[in-house]
Symmetry: T
Subunit: 70 residues, 12 copies
């Protein structure tokens, strides 16, 4: 494990429901093109407002994934 | 859209249920006196504890709203 | 109230369900050994990923508790 | 207490005497127009210099106050 | 000068031309409703993109203005 | 709009003329290989000096672009 | 001196009088249970307001103390 | 693994040789009284100077360790 | 030189030996797939602990590389 | 006033009495060798502890002074 | 190049015209007394307001210059 | 000791070998022109890359030294 190199990419996920759902959407999308996703870290939590309510949450994440060997 | 000016105000919302509910409470309260609420950004997430459980969440937000023309 | 001294400790709670559940787990664990827990503040929200989904959330908290008077 | 919403405003108070006096001046001025002031947090401490001495302190504060109900 | 209290408000100005023009737009708008504007500090510089070019700049400012005495 | 996922990439643009020109250069270059560029945020503004003048500005940006669906 | 290990603990002291008095209260309380207190660093300065005046200051400190050998 | 709670403590290790040696000293000392040490994060790297050379390095770390179940 | 655009990517390198070795591992891995690597900046230094010793260092880097022209 | 250039230097002042006295000591010392001192900003407030009391405060300041014209 | 030592000084330049002009003024002034100026980094962008317009910009810079060998 | 005033200067040292060696180079250079160097704090660790390897490390330090009396 100690000789792995990880790459970190930044994504922004959205959801009308919750912070956790926005995180899941970002990770699910990332997992379609990137393999070996390993961890994430929430960097910012924002959102848009419509008619006095949250229209949707926008959560930006750093996502770490393992570099493939060869 | 490029010529709008926005004002940003800081509010703290509370909830016994969840982070999202505290956000909704702050926005709902703000929308009673401010028009054209447009976005928010979570700045701090805190809370108070009672009997070994979360008594309530306190989420501080910056909320952006459009300056009225005229 | 103005003459109290508080101690602040840092904990990391985990949960497969939600950010709030990870917070509750950390506070419940802390309350078994520390008395007079008073407030918390979320410092980082991270998590681990498995098979394109969140495996579990990891939330680090600062928790404040009152120093006992002898 | 858990259903309150707070507004946070930023003020800068000045004093020739001390940091605490600059804080008191800002709060006293705010209390003339805002009700239900509840807490403050010091954000920056600056000052101006004249003839090799502090001419006056300038302390910027975030001040939280409760939104009125009704 | 040492006994003044200042209030600090946060605005976001926009411009298709430049960072400086976005700052001027925010200040000109603020000066219509607030008196005694004294200083500003740039907090974030962002913008939106269209067809591979900057559509407009968005600059968020803290603007300080003197509390009226009366 | 609420179900979009955005990717955020970091670029550094340069210009001998101005901060805005360095931003435009970075965005123009990015737009050759990335589609759906949506927003940017300035993270650092630096530059190099030659003969007591600015030789060129270097502006680092985070640029957000929409993940394609398909 | 170069082979010492220090532990850093975080405390919040309160005082109705001044920032310095709140610091002294935190250190005096810590010194009853911890030996070899060596240095402190102020992390946040806050307070509570009552009737348009500071009710009390709350200063959070990191306090360093030497690990005992044996 | 997802239901563990971790505690985070802050230590400062010293060494005349290197940053890594100062980290090792802090961890070795911590491991004498704390069990289940799991990870560390460097927060500050400082040092003292004597006769134009580094007298010793001082590295402050946050160290995470697992709460015992029982 | 003033008209170059750089891209910045974030990597995490690991090593059982030292901080420098973890940096070298990240850069060596990046250089297999990216050309024109130019500079790096250390963002975080962490590590894992086993049996009271550092098991391995984990250093996260931002690495800048030149966009190819053509 | 708009064409002045200021230089900013960093000093650390000490005092057994108070934060303000440590600031005054730093400024008084600086004024012996630097002319046109204009403003200061507190960057860190620390101190040393002896016998369960503050031995002395150490306040680090950025001090701005005008570049002489000639 | 790898054995150079650089010194970093902080300056504040002003201009009624633009951010870039304030940077140029600071660098031009610094170049009268310091040799081998090499790079700069913008740390804060502020300004003063008069009659609802920007009176002048104030940009604080860190400027790096090479230590002479001799 | 409590009445000393310290000055803090920022330097950048370089080395092809290690972070520690870059720190030593900066301090050794500073000690040729400044007396009473007392402590340092690492602010940034960067470097340049050549042929997929670290060409040299660049470590920026704040160095504190005692103001001479008289």
């Amino acid at each position: 494990m100690s000789d792995h190199v990880y790459s970190v990419t930044k994504l922004v996920g959205s959801s009308q429901k919750s912070v956790e759902d926005a995180i899941e959407n970002a990770i699910e999308t990332a997992s379609k093109t990137l393999k070996h996703l390993d961890w994430f870290e929430v960097k910012e939590t924002r959102g848009y407002i419509k008619d006095g309510k949250v229209a949707y949450y926008q959560v930006s994440l750093e996502i770490g994934f393992r570099y493939e060997k060869d």
